[in-house]
Amino acid sequence: MSWLLFLDESGHDHRTMPYEVHGGVAIHASRLWPFIQSIRSLEQATFGAYLDEHGAEIKGSKLLQPERFKWAAQSETMDEQARRKNALNFLNASANSRTPRRDEFTGYGQACLHFSEQTISALQGHGARLFAAMTLPIPRPAALPASHLRRDIDMLMSRFSGFVEHHHREQFDEVGLLVMDRTDKQADRVLAARLERHVNKTGRGWVMSQRVVPSPLFVESDMAYGVQVADLCIYILNWGYRTPDMNGRVREDL
């Protein structure tokens, strides 16, 4: 069996986010299907529909944008049924070329926040572990060899392999798999080549490869709940998680 580490990145366009974050959630293969089922049930119970049926996606920058908090605070907390009805009407409004009503904005805002909170609870309930490397947005030095793997990625892989090793010390068939958001083929090939070189040429890389398969699986994020949930988690970290040596902007609402 395996641990799957669903990975995404945040802030790499160096535009609005205070940090660059590489990371995601690791979940054991034996818990993956129950986790996906719980998220799909939660999605139906919260929005009255699957978000992808309405061109929406489970994404931190959508579910937790500041507007959602403003909408949610427009009135008192709705009961589950009213929230679902208003959230669904909100989603249907654009298909019907109609501007949503005030209580539909409110219901949708509350639904987004509820869904995000419950997704985090579901991760905890299914024994998932959060992994993330945060760094300041620094441009890649021109002198750097194209084959070089960034230090934060190296550390992230190392800690994931350490986690698998620690939890399955004598079980050598337990390995970690990397599942990444597909970007473009060229960039994905470069990353895969960097990982391979890291494993073949460095001691740290070789040690890591004993527990983590250094060949990532690239998936379309809108088809993979794990990657979408990873996006949600690292969005929250980017705006809300700080160690004492981090002084980037913080969103208090998160």
Binding site: F131, M134, L144, P145, R159, S161, F163, G203, R204
Partner: protein
């Protein structure tokens, strides 16, 4: 074959990393004294 240079610097057995936080801040992902970086061929 592993390059000897790569065994220096911040090398550490991966299993020791489990004691470290799984969410962490990296001050500089391109440290100039990192032997894994600028001396690569």
């Amino acid at each position: 074959m592993l390059e000897p240079l790569m065994w220096t610097g911040f090398q550490r057995r991966a299993e020791e990393d489990v004691r470290l936080p799984s969410v962490f801040f990296v001050q500089n992902v391109y440290p100039p004294d990192d032997p894994l970086l600028f001396q690569q061929k």
